[in-house]
């Protein structure tokens, strides 16, 4: 299907179905039940799942394949956001030109940053990208205020008159796709359950599927193989007649374009941008997402993005009142003790939980969540214990564990 082998097609199909049904899957608990706070099926969060998924998919093309660890990718996301909002302020409220522009501008910026940063490798490369991103942040925050809106950032205002729009006097423009407002939602209530189907989410999800498909093609292409060669042994590559520089630069620019796309989509959803989008913690977050999910795997970055965004939004909402409710069935003394112990890990303490999860994954599952999934799958397969060849690993050359699912 679409030039993919059977395994990859299946994976793409599964991701597509999950994305389509996400409003159901992420809202498994009835409204008003005590578990409803674990529901993640509201538009704002679902949009963030797929947008950060795109960001991480792109980051993985650079980090997962070539091994070059950029600590400045949020700069491309931010630049993409600024480009998109200016398109919407000046040209049209349709999101497509805005998103296309964000990809182009981020790609050009990545070309410059990559050209300079890739003169070094290892930690020096990481520091150079970090320096670029922090400079971009500082510029956006102060010097370039006329373009970036400085600290307050940019949003659509009543005074914005995009060329190709017919807004009424004083009306604030809204992002749309050929006239359909991105905020359009359709709600479905069955019994106590409530599901929301949001226009913006579905557009972002389709873009994510395309981005995922493109990354699959890149992984399986000769170009993708060259990128893995860069990671494996650059010296051998050069003495084999291949110029590793343009390969790495191309990967850098492609991943920068993915970041720009994510930034453009963010603006398409909420029509605003601020410099904090470029802050170094945002660059660090995408590194965490990719490693947590499984660097160099296809689906890992999306899983990592989902997990981190879920924790950021769900665990951070739990407070001590909710904890007391949960442990109410216990004797009072025990209840208080338990709440006291769990409390640092919830609410504002969600970073602590994230840190622990991250450490556990890196130590016990260096291949990330994907490796966890593979181990579980292997357990099940062992239980079935079918063909004798399975029990005879000695006579099976160890297959390479690279770009697995």
């Amino acid at each position: 299907m679409l030039g993919l082998n059977k395994k990859d097609s299946t994976l793409l199909l599964i991701v597509a179905v999950l994305a389509l049904l996400a409003p159901f899957i992420l809202n498994p608990f009835p409204e008003g039940s005590s578990l409803a706070q674990f529901n993640a099926g509201y538009p704002d969060l679902m949009q963030r799942f797929v947008i950060f998924g795109i960001f991480a998919i792109g980051f993985n093309i650079l980090f997962g394949l070539t091994g070059y660890l950029s600590f400045g990718h949020a700069a491309f996301l931010g630049v993409g956001s600024y480009a998109a909002i200016w398109m919407m302020k000046l040209l049209t409220l349709n999101v497509i030109p805005a998103i296309v522009m964000s990809i182009i501008v981020a790609g050009l910026f990545a070309l410059v940053v990559g050209f300079v940063s890739l003169r070094r490798s290892g930690i020096y490369f990481s520091i150079l990208t970090l320096a670029f991103a922090q400079m971009s942040y500082a510029l956006a925050y102060s010097v370039l205020t006329p373009i970036t809106g400085g600290e307050t950032g940019l949003q659509l205002k009543a005074t914005d008159r995009p060329l190709l729009s017919n807004l009424a006097e004083g009306e604030i423009g809204r992002a749309s796709l050929f006239g359909v407002d991105m905020r359009t939602s359709f709600e479905l209530a069955v019994g106590d359950w409530l599901w929301t189907f949001n226009m913006g989410y579905y557009i972002a999800a389709v873009v994510m599927l395309i981005a995922f498909y493109v990354s699959m093609r890149i992984f399986r292409s000769p170009f993708g193989m060259m990128l893995r060669a860069v990671k494996s042994n650059q010296q051998r590559m050069n003495y084999t007649g291949l110029n590793s520089k343009p390969y790495t630069l191309a990967a850098f620019v492609i991943s920068g374009m993915y970041a720009g796309l994510a930034g453009g989509l963010m603006v398409a959803m909420d029509t605003q941008v601020g410099p904090e989008r470029m802050f170094w913690t945002a660059s660090g977050e995408v590194v965490l997402m990719t490693i947590l999910g499984g660097a160099g795997t296809l689906i890992g970055p999306v899983l990592g993005a989902g997990l981190i965004k879920y924790m950021e939004n769900i665990i951070s909402k739990i407070n001590s009142g909710i904890l007391h409710e949960w442990f109410a069935f216990l004797p009072d003394g025990l209840e208080d003790a338990l709440v006291f112990m769990v409390y640092p890990f919830i609410g504002k303490g969600w970073h602590l939980t994230l840190g622990i999860v991250f450490m556990l994954v890196v130590i016990f599952l260096p291949g990330g969540l994907v490796e966890g999934g593979q181990r579980i799958a292997r357990l099940f397969r062992k239980k079935k214990a079918d063909t004798p060849s399975d029990k005879d690993p000695e006579h099976h050359p160890k297959p390479t564990p690279h770009v697995a699912e």
Partner: protein, 251 residues
Amino acid sequence: MGILEVKGVGKRFGGLQALGDVNLSVQENTVHAIIGPNGAGKSTLLNCLVGKLIPDTGSVMFDGQSVLGRKPHEINQMGISRVFQTPEIFGDLTVLENVMIPCFARRDGAFRLHAIGSVKSEKGIMEMAETMLADVNMLEKRNMHAASLSRGDKRRLEMAMCLVQEPRLLLLDEPTAGMARADTNNTIDLLKEINEKRNITMAIIEHDMHVVFSLAERITVLAQGTPLVEDTPENIKGHPKVREAYLGEAH
């Protein structure tokens, strides 16, 4: 005129004159051995040929063109491949992929943004790589992780990677160092076969005299950065200067 002409090459590392005034001419379709005691400058000379080092003086001409100042990938694209003293392979990739990469390099040049087609649909490249692996008796290991190969297999793989490019000149830096006798003999046979079947010119650095005398048609003896003599193996064996500078020490 040889295919490789090295004239007056000198290289200095700080106070150490690693190469003095090296002249070397390798004739097409021959196996040319370079021998000499430790620290004689053999590896340094090879590094000057493939763009790893730039000599301070002299010229290096390959097939009438200067290689000096060119990048390693450009020199490879001219037709020079090198096998390293410690195998340099793509450890994270499969054996088959290791051999496919040089095939791509030969077909597509130093860079091509070939991101749409899939590797699996590159039947021609795949076949070329598989044939090469069959030639070095490694076809059944093609899906193995290259890093998990034995040392001998790694070296065979690296040779396959160089040979599949059909280089005009193959440089080998101590290809049998640290190998068991049986492995060494296999390597000798492989190199002999390659030289005869494919007509590939070879320059080989080697400490093992058994290997040198089984393969070489010409031998250059290097000592303290300068060539002592260049002659046929028969004459080298009996040469008093060589015995004094090298063989006496090695045996």
